[in-house]
Symmetry: C2
Subunit: 212 residues, 2 copies
Amino acid sequence: MGAVKTKRMPRAVREQQMLDAAVRTFGQRGYMAASMDEIAELAGVSKPLVYLYLNSKDDLFTACIRREATALTEAVRGGVRRDLPADRQLWDGLRAFFAHTAAHPDGWSVLHLQARTHGERFASEVAAMRTELVEFVTQLIVVAAREARRDPDLPEREVAGLAEALVGAAESLAAWANVTPGVTAREAATTLMNFAWAGLGGLLDGRPWADA
Amino acid sequence: MGAVKTKRMPRAVREQQMLDAAVRTFGQRGYMAASMDEIAELAGVSKPLVYLYLNSKDDLFTACIRREATALTEAVRGGVRRDLPADRQLWDGLRAFFAHTAAHPDGWSVLHLQARTHGERFASEVAAMRTELVEFVTQLIVVAAREARRDPDLPEREVAGLAEALVGAAESLAAWANVTPGVTAREAATTLMNFAWAGLGGLLDGRPWADA
């Protein structure tokens, strides 16, 4: 019945609908349990059309990872204004990160869990996104160090380690926030900001990081 | 030729040798590429004996995850003295964690990478270890909050979030330290301690956490 209507739809639009359905199905069922039948039905297209457009379950999953990874890194970059002080940039970046992962729990599940639990090919797709996030945080710490005029005291390797720690903390916290009822993106961002910027010690002394 | 010598060895010892060989092979080659032939050869036993003792590649991999997870959590718990102040406990716990992951890079690769990239069954084995580490850190933060007399100001949910962030940061940093030449366990622990306890802000102001 929807055949005529369907035919009018450009391929790019139809592909996005398939990817929407696939991200939702992979995110909620897991890669193994997700069926191409279910994805096709949810997308409102025939299964052969999914195969025609996206080739295979593996290729469809890879396309999901790429789309969700790009959306997440763009959300973080887009949330940050480069002319602001480093702590403000980190705060804005964290809020953008947690807002995006909260708004797209299935996408985050694909990136953080599914893409890492089903083989090296998918894991390496997600590793590229992670490298970008780590580089972004690294630059932020370098800027902060320059602002604080501490560059010579903070060796490159420690900066790299701090960036790895911060991205790992954000990933872990986003996964936890998405399965813990009532945790908002802002709360998750605040927790990490307190942890990373003010430090646990300062927080316990009653000196949390303050959004000036 | 070594048949007589082999026969004298108790089953428990032989099994540990198989697990040693399996952890090394899984850690270095990855779960998919690791072959039972290679594991048996490295363990100095026949392949049928590996199957007799450990049943299947999946069961052998599960046994590896359990052994390495237990060893890691015991190393962390064993490195900490409960009568010391919370920041000291965290510092000792972090040093134990990074010393163990540095000394057992193949075991850490199995837990952090391989166990999460090959299906839900293995991922849930590693999730149990993670829960234990998060609980350990949660208790530490609760103790620290009590010492600082800030309990009413630090809600349970924020403590849970901080623990998730810290464990995520430690996992991320351990993976990075193991592939970055020349990073010692102590350096990795110091980076995370600075990040978590003194805070990035304090660090950049020239106030790192001090091991009193």
